[in-house]
Amino acid sequence: MKRQSTGLALALFAGVMLAFSASNAFAYRVFISNEKENTISVIDSETLELIHTIKTGNRPRGIILGNEGKWVIVCVSDDNKLQVFDTQTYELVKDLPSGPDPELPILHTSGNPLYVSNEDDNLVTVVDIFENRIITDIPVGVEPEGMGMSPDGKWLVNTSETTNMAHFIDTESLKVVDNVLVDSRPRVAEFTPDGKEVWVSAEIGGTVTVIATDSREVLAKINFEIQGITKDAIQPVGVRISSDGKKAFVALGPANRVAVVDVATREVERYLLVGQRVWNLGFTPDEKLLFTTNGTSNDVSVIDVASLKVTKSIRVGRYPWGVVAAPN
């Protein structure tokens, strides 16, 4: 059975290679939540064209995959819940409960439960995605936002925008174990693939704080400087680190740039010009492409990761917010 499917996959692979011999990436479906349009735009990563638009609930924001890539799960913030869509058929599978104004979800490394920050009640809600129920709530700071999961599944890091902290939550006890002050209005928390560091972006502070997972010490603060752009406009939000642990990409909001940072040296290598008010970032599963959501220009930019070039921008819905790519 296994051999058969491998054979089939090989045959498919050959077919794909024949059909798109010039291409260097498999086709994935890239899902973009459009905050103001109440839709998800679906882009084919091969043709880089919009192939479908899914109608969602109100104010779709944080978006992830679930159930082994079969589901795309999106926070519909103004409806105070999450929605689950089938990544193949785009049909609504079900709703999942959350607290008020859910913003960013993340799954435990085992695939369940889901943790979601609720911007409006200072809680992180823990949700069983198969049983559709809330397991518990974890009190955190004011306006919880970013959610990072350590690769070993032991740590959940939540950031709170007005408390300016990264809360380290033990996923076993579901208690806040430690709090690390970061710069103003922290947005996204991302672990390095080895799990040793958490990178936390601060939108108003204009920095990324690197925190040691074990000691919770602040190891470094990364600053950004772009000629011709005032400091105030440099507002780091989305952070993605490549799975080889070498490069970090940081979306800089109204500076309309994505910074490429060397993870080892924490030096900024270059700035890539993308669309306006770039917020979140998502790799394709093979990490050959990185998609950026550009809120005020209603498009996504496509970055070729190998050459670090912005190759295309694709018009999506109004105020694109989050992005996730699924295998086809």
């Binding site: 911007e119 409006d120 007005t162 709090n179 002050l181 209005r185 502070g205 105030d232 406009a233 109204p254």
Partner: protein, 448 residues
């Protein structure tokens, strides 16, 4: 207009007819009572909240945070709200704009709540007390006493003269006054004090913010209408300065003299409908009518009553402000929701200014991990300090006069139109310094 159905039926007389400490004008009270007693819904404009006063607002309360069991290592940070009751101030023209009794105070309370949510993780506890007085000297004496009792952070909503007295009374103490209510320029300039911070924007900041947008719109020719009070003239001066700065032209200036009599006679529109057009007659061509009326006593008469069809801006129509209850930008929704839950009304500019003051103290306390007044005050004066305050960029204090730099909303009573500084108004250091008197022009020397 959204209709607020009013509070649930209750013996409303005791609450709604309660004397309003800010406004002891019998007239407005009669109106409010009459509305309730005839059972008509109490309308609240979506723009400015005039919800019935909440039942608390007792002066001199100390808000104890939820945690009962307190260990000795919890740092306590005490903040005082000082309010000068201005009995002689006339109520604004529109019933929708009548300040609630906890105007400003509710913002300070939210700041305390937000500080304590953070403080919970840092073993810090923030406490709020309030003093209110109509007599400036008594107020200053009470505040001084409170400062000596361990309230070094004073959030003050008072007249400029009173603020100065307060600052001078506290000048030898480790204490700081946050001006949350006065736009007076001299407080930031020739009368600046090193122990005063201003979270309220100055008149020139407000005027520049509006003028930048009018310049962006190319509404270059202004007809300026100025009220009779010194505050109206001061705002008009700020507007004239802004016009000069941004290349706009005042084609005519008219003084609007009037006797503020009964705030609202039974009727009145019949005459106003005649008076305003005739007052505006014979003006040179203009793009916009700019009205300077800080007391909110006549500007609202102008929209839709001008001689020729021109928009009205300044103190009515399109106006500059630090905060608006419909703003949902930059995470503002959650902020507005938290306020609404706490105060049972919409957030007004003074609430916002008081919140930023209390949050400034909270931010300093969490960054320094200290409750020591001097440490916190020094931190707020350092270039390390910044505050995230739902305006899309960090807010900082100007090092030369203690004024909070901040974007200004340009708004109708219903919803914001834009946020200044406008694109293209550039600055060497911070675009926010294109709003208001900048460092090279300042007359303030106390900070040097």
């Amino acid at each position: 207009m959204r209709i607020y159905a009013g509070p649930a039926p209750r013996p409303a007389r005791s609450v709604l007819c309660r004397p309003n400490p800010s406004f002891l004008k019998g007239f407005s009270l009669v109106v409010a009572c009459a509305v309730v007693m005839t059972g008509v819904a109490f309308p609240v404009h979506a723009g400015e909240g005039a919800a019935p006063p909440p039942a608390q607002a007792a002066p001199s309360e100390t808000q104890a945070p939820a945690a009962e069991a307190k260990t000795d290592d919890v740092l306590k940070i005490r903040i005082l709200m000082a309010r000068e009751i201005q009995e002689d101030r006339l109520p604004p023209l529109s019933l929708l704009d009548i300040p609630p009794p906890d105007d400003g105070l509710a913002g300070a309370r939210l700041g305390i709540e937000d500080n304590n949510t953070t403080g919970r993780f840092l073993k810090q506890e923030f406490l709020l007390d309030t003093v209110e007085n109509a007599n400036a000297d008594e107020l200053v004496a009470e505040v001084s006493k409170k400062v000596d009792e361990g309230f070094p952070f004073v959030v003050a909503d008072a007249r400029p003269e009173t603020l100065l007295k307060l600052a001078d009374a506290l000048k030898d103490k480790d204490a700081v006054v946050f001006n949350v209510g006065s736009p007076d320029e001299t407080l930031r300039e020739e009368n600046c004090r090193v122990n005063v911070k201003h979270t309220a924007p100055s008149r020139t900041m407000l005027a520049d913010a509006l003028a930048q947008y009018l310049a962006w719109k190319q509404w270059r020719n202004w007809l300026l209408v100025v009220g009779p009070t010194p505050e109206d003239k001061a705002f008009a001066d700020a507007l004239k300065r802004a016009a000069t700065r941004f290349g706009l032209k005042i084609v005519d200036e008219r003084l609007f003299e009037y006797e503020p009599g009964s705030r609202r006679a039974d009727g009145g529109f019949e005459q106003i409908q005649q008076q305003i057009p005739s007052f505006m007659q014979g003006a040179p061509d203009h793009d916009v009518v700019v009205v300077a009326d800080e007391g909110e006593l006549f500007a609202e008469y102008f929209p839709y009553r001008t001689w020729i069809s021109r928009p009205v801006v300044g103190s009515a129509g399109l106006y500059p402000t630090t905060w608006h209850p419909a703003v949902e930008l930059w995470g503002g929704t959650q902020f507005q929701n938290r306020f609404q839950r706490l105060a049972k009304r919409q957030m007004r500019p003074i609430d916002y200014n008081a919140w930023t003051a209390v949050r400034s103290v909270g931010e300093a306390a969490s960054r320094t991990n200290s409750s020591d007044a001097k440490t916190l005050i020094d931190y707020m004066r350092s270039d390390k300090f910044d505050l995230a305050a739902f305006k899309g960029q960090k807010l900082t204090y100007r090092s030369w006069n203690g004024q909070l730099r901040q974007p200004i909303f340009i708004t109708t009573p219903k919803i914001h139109v834009t946020v200044s500084p406008q694109p293209g108004f550039l600055h060497e250091f911070s675009e926010l310094d294109t709003l208001g008197v900048d460092r090279p022009e300042t007359k303030c020397t106390a900070f040097q």
